[in-house]
Point group: C2
Chain length 416, copies 2
């Protein structure tokens, strides 16, 4: 059972938009045990789309397409599919009614242009679109089942989950489940060495590492005859990975470092505050990305100026004069001062040089000091993120390092 995923549009072939639909669909197909052999992206040209559909349908059991079914002149997928099938377009009254209602609910008349969206290749079946005007199309081309879906990601996803996935379920070779276990604090090669035997080719589940901006993920892909078997294999590898990687593991799949920190704060009943310089609010933003964070995040202060560090955080002016604002003593004083100012159980601070300007020989771009104040005192850390990194990368790495400091402290505090 092989699939080919196609996407249509000049905005894709010209590079103005990055196609995320094909990756999303491939993950859904994998979960159904259907492997994807190719992605194809084609420009809005009738002959090019027709030829690509024809070739794909000769080479795969299932062809999924996104894009090119809107109401404008450059939306050609329905015409190309009809041409590949050697049929004409036929009018489908219920679809037109659905489109009219879509506009009526928005108190608008249906533009004449949208009428084309109620036309379908003869012999094909419309697929309802509950999020937009464009119905999808289900058709048979050669031996392949072709599913034509909208290009708008949200409409496409709802349509796939609601109408296409149920038709494909059970047709794949068993079930493939995927999970990514996220780690922070070790490099990719160190993580890889720890789990090398699990990564050997030909093993099921397949296990591989992936590095994304200093977060090392371990991807597990388990194939089973049914859901239960795939799930059992996936869970067993997850448990083994967690056992070997220990505290490096902070979450799975969509879980972020901020989620992990939030969970630890909730579990231990502690509160947190921030006092940021070089990260400029990024740590506070990250902590409050999490829904329900008001239960543990009290307040945050961004002090770019020395004056604010002294006046609000009670950093001794002499400390700044002696060591400079970017220094371990100032990071410590900021964290302690922030903890006191906000009455939090713990407080994170950062002071550093995010660049691209402001670096010196002794304090280069990328140098960041961190403070973590808590009931038992204050820990201070120094990191030198490479000066070849961008401002955005340096700030992002500092954010992750700070969140991870707090995560590890909360983990250890609770096990003490």
């Amino acid at each position: 059972m092989h699939a080919i995923v196609m996407s249509m549009g000049n905005e894709l072939t010209s590079g103005q938009t990055v196609d995320t639909n094909s990756a999303w669909l491939s993950r859904q197909l994998a979960a159904l045990g259907i492997s994807v052999r190719r992605h194809i992206t084609v420009a809005d040209e009738l002959d090019v789309i027709r030829a690509a559909l024809d070739a794909a349908a000769r080479d795969a059991d299932v062809v999924l397409t996104t894009g090119g079914i809107g109401p404008t002149e450059d939306d050609l997928t329905r015409h190309a599919l009809a041409a590949a099938m050697g049929v004409g377009l036929e009018f489908h009254a219920p679809s037109l009614e659905h489109i009219r209602e879509f506009f009526a609910r928005r108190s608008r008349d249906m533009p004449e242009a949208n009428r084309i969206q109620a036309m379908f290749p003869a012999g094909s079946t419309p697929i309802e679109n509950i999020c937009g005007t464009a119905p999808g199309i289900q058709a048979k081309l050669h031996q392949a089942d072709v599913f034509v879906m909208p290009g708008v990601p949200r409409e496409m996803r709802v349509m796939f989950e609601r109408s296409v996935a149920p038709l494909l379920a059970g047709r794949g070779a068993g079930v493939i489940l995927m999970r990514t276990v996220h780690t922070f604090g070790a490099g990719e090669s160190d993580v890889g060495t720890t789990i090398r035997d699990l990564m050997r080719r030909g093993r099921n589940p397949t296990v591989g590492t992936t590095a994304q901006q200093t977060i090392i993920g371990v991807r597990i892909q388990a194939a089973g005859r049914d859901f239960a078997e795939a799930r059992r294999l996936l869970d067993a590898d997850t448990a083994e990975l967690r056992r070997r990687l220990g505290d490096l593991v902070f979450g799975e799949d969509d879980e972020t470092l901020a989620d992990a920190v939030g969970a630890q704060l909730l579990r231990t009943g502690q509160t947190v505050a921030t006092a940021e310089s070089c990260t400029g609010g990024l740590i506070a933003k990250s902590l409050t990305d999490v829904s329900g964070s008001s239960a543990y995040f009290l307040s945050g202060l961004v002090t770019y100026s020395n004056e604010a560090k002294v006046r609000l955080l009670a950093v001794p002016e002499a400390l700044i004069l002696e060591h400079g604002a970017v220094s371990a003593p100032v990071a410590e004083a900021m964290a302690v001062g922030g903890r006191r100012l906000f009455g939090a159980d713990c407080a994170l601070s950062t002071t550093g040089i995010a660049g691209p300007t402001g670096g010196t020989a002794t304090k280069p771009v990328g140098l960041v000091f961190f403070g973590l104040a808590h009931a038992g005192g204050c820990e201070v850390h120094e990191r030198r993120f490479g000066s070849e990194l961008t401002r955005k990368e340096i700030r992002d790495r500092a954010r992750k390092f700070a969140l991870n400091l707090l995560r590890l402290r909360l983990l250890h505090a609770s096990s003490a």
Copy 2:
């Protein structure tokens, strides 16, 4: 002059990684006047890659590929290219030397596995990789020029700009230049109506709108016989768009709202501070994303708790009791208090319900109040972002709305 862009890798066909290389390369090719007919992504299977290379080289003048030239067993692009060319692999001593040096500079021995990266299809030419171990490959297949590049985006981009683009320059049909003019404050249909005549099909430049999370972009693509002509057309349309869209326009291409605000602050010599509740540091983070922002960004405070609003920002407790923390009077008091606390020329505040929980019938999820305090007083705004939006979307829209308030104020202040 047509090109096909290919990418290789199971991580792409399985959907675990989204291919951004093909879009990037397509934009570079467009700038060289070379149009891209298709993108193809194939799994790590020798025969599949070979067949795809063969088909692409029969159908295009230029084939660019990314991925599959690493040192591991699943890196098969060089083997597939050799098979498609009907030749064997030959050893290239300078490439091996380059790879050895790459590891030596990092004080490591070259793993034996990397030796394969010094093997090239007979008759092909290595392309130097100054950022990594994998050299690229330039080869002729049928009538097409094939360029094989690494999958790591940074390595690929440097290699393309340094070694591939110079070979393609002058081969395209003239020059195509692109620019996107960004607007904030009007919907896509309103922007579209204002510039409808510029958007008609067949016109050069082509003009189209694109909506991305409430920022409406207007894309201009100008084709010319040479750079000067394309540039003249592009600039003329840009000027016309700016004339018609006025204050809605905040920047072009990579410019963000925070960049635009920063430029206005620098120009007017003013400073800014923030006092955020529901945006949780996002506005401060956004302002300080900009390099050099320390010249105008003084400080920011994130006050999630009422206690901190009262104590630090001097919001009268009675105001919170009477109107609630999410209210226009509290937004105003926060902005005024933040401006005073930090001694800034202007201060932005937010208080609202980012959700997904915490909404009520009268104060639903998505309701946000904004304050902008300045020397002349304080303006207060209320927005209801749809409750169907995610927490992330609501916070992001609130951020943009706040930054735009400040941008417009600074624009008008300076023209007064």
